[in-house]
Amino acid sequence: MTAIIELEGLVKTFGSTRALDGLDLLVEEGTVHGFLGPNGSGKTTTIRVLLGLLRADTGRARLFGGDPWRDAVNLHRRLAYVPGDVNLWPKLSGGEVIDLLGRLRGDLDARRRAELLERFELDPRKKARTYSKGNRQKVALVAALSSSAELLILDEPTSGLDPIMEAVFQECIREIKTEGRTVLLSSHILAEVEALCDGVSIIRAGRTVQSGTLTDLRHLTRTAITADTVRPPTGLDRLPGVHGLKVENHRARFDVDTDHLDEAVRALTELGLRSLTSQPPTLEELFLRQYGDVLAHDGVAVKGAEEVKSAEEVAR
């Protein structure tokens, strides 16, 4: 597999602010890569470095094997971009903007354009000033998706879309994936990332804190277990990797590090299993665990997945 995007130890400062602080990112050809991080963590800055709009202070940046700063113009022939904040020229219609961007890129596909306009239910005759945020986003999406670019860089592309359009968007990305093209998808919508992405990078304060396939990442996390046992479940707290244990009579609930799942299940079997439910961690839990200490720092009583679990229990 060829790497389309390679970032290593990227540092970018704005005055005294360290927007990127040793960021790494690897995106391989033909994959959809999720790029996660809270507001202000450096996602947009990273994308702007990739587009050659910002120059990194130190670190290595490679796009299609080239230097995104020096070879910007040539590299841009091979990519399409949807910014997080889509601002259009108020006097131009949506159709005019789509055509303009397509012609500048040099790969406007009229048939595809018409099809996408229909799928996204976008009226191309309306002036940009009259579009809502979601519709401006659709304009940029149609412009990018109707291209045949090898790489799509999408910065929170669906933040203004309704659930129906979100589904259309996911469908389009799957099609692009089947065509073997590459997508970098920065997003807040974890369900979207979970549905679409092969790999994920989670960044925080300008630094990559987790990276890998979704399966890899799940290994790093905990599985939620609820078990009813014949004998009272004692001694579970002595097991390695068990967190947030709660015992009520013959029922035990706990989270266990995926690495220690085997031992935990064996211990439960010895107690005589009546019923067992296990839940793999969702991306949301993964995400919250990464930021658990941030939230705690901010006075929010969340400490990793355990607290999320107990919140879910309350809800039940």
């Binding site: 702007r48 587009l51 709009l53 910002l54 120059r55 910007a72 113009v73 040539n74 841009h76 022939r77 990519l79 399409a80 971009y81 910014p83 904040d85 889509v86 601002n87 259009l88 020229w89 006097k91 131009l92 219609s93 159709g95 005019e96 903007v97 789509i98 055509d99 303009l100 961007l101 012609r103 500048l104 890129r105 040099g106 009226d123 191309p124 005759r125 309306k126 002036k127 000033r129 009259t130 940029a140 860089i153």
Partner: protein, 528 residues
């Protein structure tokens, strides 16, 4: 009254937000009136000189078209009202339009009104608050103009009438804008249509003034001039503007109840579903974005050039009788007075036209600030091609603007004297300032590329060149200061000989500035 809840808060909020803007408009117009009054007093120090100029202007169609009805021109007050009245009224109209739009339609288009109306705020509060704010500006301006003119020893009643004539016009256009702002949701359409009404008022009263004055009754500017400041005031004429204001404001009030927030009564016209061939390059987009502004500058400068052309043939006669003017023009030595006049005209028009070049280049600043540039720079368009597209508009557009303004001067002059042989010389005189204008464009691009946060300082440089060009002698600025302006080194045609070398040097400077700007932009982060 619940429809007005929160009006007071909005008024204070508006004052806080727009205090600088409001101050600049009011003081700008006040200073223009007072400076004109002072210079008229110096120009015509005796009753004899006033009588002479009155006799000249009385039947001068060109002067009446641009200055207003000849009312008591042989008095100082009448002459000042004649010289400054129409310009002042046009500016008051524009001030009321732009400020009312700023407080209402701009806010609504940006979605901020929605934010405010969702709080405890009456439906009519934004409309009434804007009306109070703009009316207050007009009242303050009227008061300042009145006091300033009384300070120049002009008759008290006439000065009050002059101030009130400004106030009357301001109120009429406040009402008109209030109504227009309900009809369409597009701020630019509101500004454009209301400003066009100011233009129509100007033309209608011009037609009336050169006839028997009847047609002037169709024009709000005419209504204000029918008040006859310093010329036997006719106070009853104020009934017309007062009624017009009440009617338009009441209409705006009713229209507010009939439309949705954020929308207008007229739905916007749809655009093209696909782009024309023009939108295939950064330059094509720049043309599309800037052509409206280019047309606006061209029309404005053609009209101004035409104005100068229309009075030129009377210059010799006019100046013979006026020692101060004669001194002013003889600074050009040797040339005929008409040529000297045309030389001043060409410089004036070029200095004003330089504003277009600055504005065209600084379009890059707003494009980058709104992140629209990012969409383009993520395509295979080099930074130089993108920033350069706006530079091309500035360079080529200034050829059009200066060429047309010279042509306007020459054609109107040609029609009046029945001889078009001066046409190439006059157009050439304007075009000779092109390299100087390009220096302004180059400077704006340099600032944008190298110190983008200070890019708007290009306007300060522009203002400095205007001051040096217009007031350099009056202010007694040393030659080395004047020499900083490229306009000072351009051949002053047609009164002087054409010299190529300065033009080559100035063009080279402009190119160098632009080149540094482009390199700087290539090397810096965007957006800043």
């Amino acid at each position: 009254m619940s429809a007005l809840t929160g009006t007071g808060t909005l008024v204070r909020f508006g004052l806080r937000r727009a205090r600088v803007r409001m101050l600049v408009w009011v003081l700008g117009i006040e200073l223009l009136v007072i400076f004109t009054a002072v210079s008229v007093k110096n120009l015509y120090p005796t009753q004899e000189s006033l009588d002479k100029v009155a006799a000249l202007s009385q039947d001068n169609v060109a002067a009446i078209v641009f200055n207003g009805p000849p009312q008591a021109l042989n008095t100082m007050g009448g002459q000042i009202a004649f010289q400054t009245g129409t310009t002042g009224l046009v500016l008051v109209g524009l001030m009321s339009i732009f400020m009312f739009g700023f407080f209402t339609r701009v806010e609504e288009e940006n979605g901020r009104t929605e934010l405010l109306l969702a709080t405890v705020l009456g439906r009519h509060a934004p409309l009434v608050a804007a009306f109070i704010l703009v009316t207050a500006m007009n009242v303050v301006l009227a008061g300042l103009v009145t006091l300033g003119l009384i300070g120049q020893d002009l008759p008290v009643v006439g000065s009050i009438a002059f101030g009130v004539s400004f106030l009357a016009l301001g109120l009429v256009f406040t009402g008109i804008t209030a109504m227009a702002a309900q009809i369409t949701e597009n701020t630019r359409v509101v500004y454009g249509s209301c400003a066009a009404l100011v233009g129509l008022s100007f033309v209608l009263r011009a037609v009336g003034d050169i006839g028997d004055g009847t047609v002037s009754w169709l024009s709000p500017i005419g209504w204000s001039q029918k008040l006859r400041p310093y010329a036997g005031e006719q106070w009853w004429t104020l009934v017309v503007p007062v009624v017009a204001t009440m009617v338009t404001f009441a209409a705006a009030w009713r229209l507010t109840e009939r439309r949705d927030v954020g929308a207008g009564l007229i739905q916007p016209r749809p655009g093209r579903p696909t782009a024309s061939a023009l939108l295939s390059s950064p330059l094509g987009l720049a043309v599309r974005l800037q052509r409206g502004s280019l047309i606006g500058w061209s029309v404005g400068l053609v009209v101004l050039g035409g104005t100068y052309g229309s009075v030129a043939n009377q210059i010799d006669q006019f100046v013979q009788d006026n020692k101060e003017l004669a001194d002013y023009f003889s600074a050009y030595g040797g040339a005929t007075l008409t040529d000297a006049f045309f030389t001043t005209t060409a410089l004036t028009l070029a200095l004003i036209g330089g504003g277009f070049a600055v504005q065209a280049v600084l379009r890059t600043v707003s494009e980058e600030g709104s992140l629209r540039s990012e969409l383009l720079l993520a395509t295979p368009i080099s930074r130089a091609a993108w920033a350069g597209s706006h530079l091309v508009i500035a360079v080529v557009g200034s050829v059009i603007v200066l060429g047309l303004t010279g042509l306007g001067t020459a054609v109107i002059y040609g029609i009046i004297v029945g001889d078009f042989s001066t046409l190439p010389r006059l157009v050439g005189a304007s075009l000779a300032y092109l390299p100087a204008v390009w220096v302004l464009a180059g400077l704006a691009l340099l600032l944008y590329g190298v110190v983008p946060r200070a890019a708007l300082a290009a306007w300060a440089a522009y203002a400095a060149m205007i001051v040096a060009g217009f007031l350099g002698d009056v202010l007694n600025l040393p030659q080395w200061v004047l020499g900083l302006s490229p306009f000072d080194h351009s051949p002053a045609l047609p009164a002087n000989d054409f010299t190529l070398l300065p033009l080559v040097v100035i063009t080279a400077v402009a190119l160098a500035l632009a080149a540094i700007g482009l390199v700087g932009f290539r090397r810096r982060d965007t957006p800043v």
